[in-house]
C-alpha cells in the first residue's frame, strides 16, 4: 500500500483515478490545484505524486519541476490531457524530462496500476 497524492482539476477524472487506486489498496489524498498540492506535499510524506500537467489555475509542469528539484523527493507521475488549445505534446515532453513516468489520457486502469507499482516496488 502506498501513500499517493493526486492532483487534477477535473473532478470526474480525479474521482475515477482515485477510485481505481483505492480499490488497488492505496491511500489517496486528492486535490484540484497544483499550489494546494505542493502545500500538502510539504506537510506530509508521500510515496508517489500523480499530477495532471495542464490545469487552468496552476501549471502542472511547475509542480513537476518543484517536486523534482529537491533531489530525494517522492516519485512523480505526469498526466497529459485537459486544457484547450495548448500544445499538450510540448508540455508533456517538458514534464517527461523530469517526471518518473508519464501517463497519456485516456489510459486504462491496468496501465495506471502497473505504473504505480513499478515506481513504488522498491
Amino acid at each position: 500500500m502506498c501513500q499517493i497524492l493526486l492532483i487534477d482539476d477535473m473532478q470526474p477524472v480525479r474521482h475515477a483515478i482515485a477510485a481505481t487506486l483505492r480499490k488497488a489498496g492505496h491511500d489517496v489524498v486528492e486535490t484540484d490545484d497544483g499550489n494546494k498540492g505542493l502545500e500538502i506535499a510539504a506537510k506530509r510524506q508521500f510515496d508517489l505524486i500523480i499530477t495532471d500537467i495542464m490545469m487552468p489555475a496552476s501549471d502542472g509542469t511547475d509542480v513537476v519541476f518543484a517536486l523534482k528539484s529537491g533531489g530525494s523527493g517522492p516519485k512523480v507521475v505526469a498526466m497529459s490531457g485537459g486544457g484547450s488549445g495548448i500544445a499538450a505534446q510540448d508540455a508533456l515532453s517538458l514534464s517527461a524530462s523530469r517526471a518518473d513516468a508519464v501517463l497519456k489520457k485516456p489510459f486504462t486502469n491496468e496501465v495506471l496500476i502497473e505504473t504505480v507499482s513499478s515506481l513504488t516496488s522498491n
Binding site: A19, T20, G82, G83, K105, T108
Partner: protein, 377 residues
C-alpha cells in the same frame, strides 16, 4: 475638373513637343498591358495593343488588330463575367472584371481586366482602354495559403477538442472497467461492456483527432513520411466529407516507410483537393481507393481512384485548368486541382489521370489521379 484636364493635356502637349516619341514609348514600354479599341467602329475592334499584351496573351499585334478582344475568351469563361463587360460598354462605364481567358497556346489564365471608356477633350466617346493583368499565379498562391491556414487552424482546434474529449472519456472507461468485475447480473454486465466498448471507440476517434494536431501540420520540414503522413491526411479528409463516401487505403505495395520531399501540410492539401474532387464526382456516395506504390527506388506513386462518372481521355489535361471544376460545385473555389498540380510540380512531381475503379453499374470506369513524386527514403 476641367482645369485639371487642361493641365493634364498641357503637360502632355509639352511632352509631345519636347520629345515627340515619349508618349508612344510609354505605351510600348508599359509593364502593364494596354489595349485600345476604336469606339466609333462597329464591334469595337482593337486598334492598338502593346508588347506587354503580346507577352501575356501570346498573340502578336497583327494577329489581333481589327478584331474584338473576345477572342481571349473560351469554353470555361464565365458568361456572367462577359455580360458584365458588355453591360459596362453599353452604359459607357468603366468596369473591373476577373475572368478566365486563354492564351494563343490554349493555356488558360486568370485575367484581371480593367476596362474604361475614353472620352476626348470635347467629351466624345472615342476609344475603350483595356488593361489586363495575369493574376493566375497570385490566385493559386492565395489558394495555397488559405488551404494551409485552414489546416493549421483545424490542427489546433482538433487538438483542443481531443484533449477535452479525453478528459471526459477517461472517467467513463475507467469507472466502468473498475466496477464491471463486481457486477453479478450477466445482463447488466453485457450492457456495461457495450458502453465500455463505445467509450473506447470514442477514445480511438479522439486519438485520431490528436494525431492531426500533433504538430504535423505546423511543422516546416520539407519531408513527409509515408504512409503515416498519408494516413493523417486521409483521417482529416474523412472528417471533412459526408460519411456516405467510402474511402479505402492500401499500402501493400510498399516495403516500409517512405520519404517524399514535400512539406506535410502541402501534401495534405494536395490529397484533400484530389479526394474532395473525387468525392464530388461520385456525388459523395461512391468509393475512393488510395494506394501507394514504390515505383522504383527513385519514385513513389500515390493513386486516388474513384468509381464516379470518369473523365474522357480528351479532357484529362483540362481538369487542372483553373475554374474547370467550378461548375461542378458551388462551394469549391475551382482551383483545387490547379493548386494540387502546382504543388506537386514544384517538387519535381507530376499528376497523371487514368481510368479508375469500375462504376457501380459495371458500364465504365471512374477516374484515377496518380501522384508521381521523387522517393528520397
Amino acid at each position: 475638373m476641367q482645369k485639371r484636364l487642361d493641365q493634364g493635356y498641357a503637360a502632355l502637349e509639352r511632352i509631345a513637343d519636347d520629345s515627340p516619341d515619349l508618349l508612344k514609348s510609354l505605351l510600348e514600354g508599359s509593364p502593364d498591358t494596354v489595349s485600345v479599341s476604336d469606339a466609333r467602329l462597329p464591334d469595337l475592334p482593337l486598334t492598338y495593343v502593346n508588347p506587354s499584351f503580346t507577352r501575356t496573351t501570346g498573340y502578336s499585334a497583327d494577329e489581333v488588330l481589327g478584331r474584338n478582344c473576345r477572342f481571349l475568351q473560351g469554353e470555361d469563361t464565365n458568361r456572367g463575367d462577359v455580360a458584365k463587360i458588355r453591360k459596362a460598354i453599353e452604359a459607357r462605364q468603366p468596369v473591373d472584371v476577373v475572368l478566365l481567358n486563354y492564351r494563343k497556346s490554349g493555356e488558360p489564365f486568370i485575367n484581371s481586366l480593367r476596362m474604361a471608356p475614353i472620352f476626348d477633350k470635347s467629351s466624345q466617346l472615342s476609344a475603350y482602354l483595356g488593361i489586363q493583368r495575369d493574376i493566375t499565379e497570385e490566385r493559386l498562391q492565395a489558394e495555397r495559403n488559405i488551404g494551409q491556414n485552414r489546416l493549421e487552424a483545424l490542427g489546433t482546434a482538433s487538438g483542443a477538442l481531443a484533449h477535452q474529449l479525453n478528459n471526459l472519456l477517461h472517467p467513463v472507461t475507467s469507472l466502468i472497467s473498475l466496477h464491471l468485475p463486481d457486477i453479478e447480473d450477466a445482463g447488466i454486465r453485457k450492457d456495461l461492456e457495450m458502453a465500455h466498448y463505445s467509450a473506447n471507440q470514442a477514445a480511438d476517434l479522439s486519438d485520431n483527432l490528436l494525431g492531426l494536431s500533433r504538430g504535423s501540420f505546423q511543422d516546416s520540414s520539407d519531408i513527409t513520411t509515408l504512409p503515416a503522413g498519408l494516413i493523417r491526411a486521409v483521417d482529416l479528409v474523412r472528417l471533412m466529407l459526408p460519411p456516405t463516401i467510402t474511402i479505402e487505403t492500401s499500402f501493400r505495395n510498399i516495403s516500409g516507410e517512405l520519404n517524399v520531399p514535400i512539406n506535410e501540410t502541402l501534401f495534405a492539401q494536395v490529397l484533400i483537393n484530389i479526394i474532395t474532387n473525387a468525392s464530388q464526382a461520385t456525388k459523395h456516395s461512391g468509393k475512393i481507393r488510395i494506394e501507394v506504390a514504390e515505383h522504383d527506388s527513385s519514385r513513389v506513386k500515390i493513386s486516388i481512384s474513384d468509381n464516379g462518372p470518369g473523365i474522357p481521355p480528351s479532357l484529362r489535361e483540362k481538369v487542372f485548368s483553373p475554374f474547370y471544376s467550378k461548375s461542378n460545385s458551388k462551394n469549391s473555389s475551382g482551383l483545387g486541382l490547379s493548386v494540387a498540380l502546382q504543388i506537386i510540380n514544384k517538387v519535381d512531381g507530376q499528376i497523371i489521370v487514368e481510368d479508375g475503379l469500375i462504376q457501380p453499374n459495371g458500364d465504365g470506369f471512374g477516374c484515377m489521379f496518380i501522384i508521381d513524386i521523387p522517393n528520397i527514403t
